[in-house]
């Protein structure tokens, strides 16, 4: 199972763009890259997923280079409410979630006024 490495913490100010990079050197051909967001006292929440190139939704963008050994979650113009822990994980493809999903420690993003 491909494990991931991401920074333990990051700081930013309101209105800035934040990029969180995740390494997943052992990603398999069928694996998807998935990011979750966790606010204090809440469960993690799925925010975005991609396989290659770029994916964008209303919350974030996900950039994946051609070798897929890393990915970058981009949060445009963060606000105080984006303060949370962000988890990067790889998930087996084929619509299956029966595999062990490794969440790790995540990245604590703190947004300052």
């Amino acid at each position: 199972l491909a494990k991931t490495t991401q920074p333990i913490s990051m700081d930013s100010y309101e209105g800035q763009e934040v990029n969180i990079t995740c390494s997943h050197n052992n990603i398999a051909t069928n694996d998807y890259i998935t990011w979750y967001q966790q606010f204090p006292s809440q469960g993690p929440r799925f925010i975005i997923q991609g396989y290659k190139t770029k994916v964008t939704n209303e919350v974030a963008s996900l950039f994946i280079p051609a070798d897929r050994k890393s990915s970058t979650l981009s949060l445009p113009r963060v606000s105080l409410s984006d303060t949370a822990v962000y988890y990067c994980l790889v998930a087996p493809g084929g619509g299956s979630t029966l595999g062990r999903l490794y969440f790790g420690r995540g990245t604590q993003l703190t947004v300052w006024p």
Partner: protein, 114 residues
């Protein structure tokens, strides 16, 4: 309606006691999970059930026993509680064949063992 609900939200107990945490999902999913999150935010899978059958047991001590009476419920019973069991326990669910890697988590149950 809450999609994945856990009870209780907080649990404070003494070492050696036995306690249970209940989880229910109303999403119609066929797979449910228990995760443990320690004070450093490590989120580790403990168990996974698919259609009431245990498919993942991530080397969790025998003191932890999950039970799935039906595919909408996955309860966690812990015997002889130890200090190291203090953590937040999250229940989650997913549906096979739909978006891969998308889990729906409950709000968590914070267990404190004194």
């Amino acid at each position: 309606d809450t999609a994945v609900s856990q009870t209780p939200k907080y649990l404070v107990t003494q070492m050696g006691n036995d306690k249970s945490i209940k989880c229910e999902q109303n999403l119609g999913h066929d797979t449910m999970y228990w995760y443990k999150q320690d004070s450093k935010k490590f989120l580790k899978i403990m168990f996974s059930y698919n259609n009431k059958e245990l498919i993942i047991n991530e080397t969790v001590p025998n003191r932890f026993s999950p039970k799935s009476p039906d595919k909408a419920h996955l309860n966690l019973h812990i015997n002889s509680l130890e200090l190291g069991d203090s953590a937040v326990y999250f229940c989650a669910s997913s549906q096979e064949g739909v978006r891969t890697g998308e889990l729906f988590f409950g709000e968590g149950s914070r267990l404190t063992v004194l």
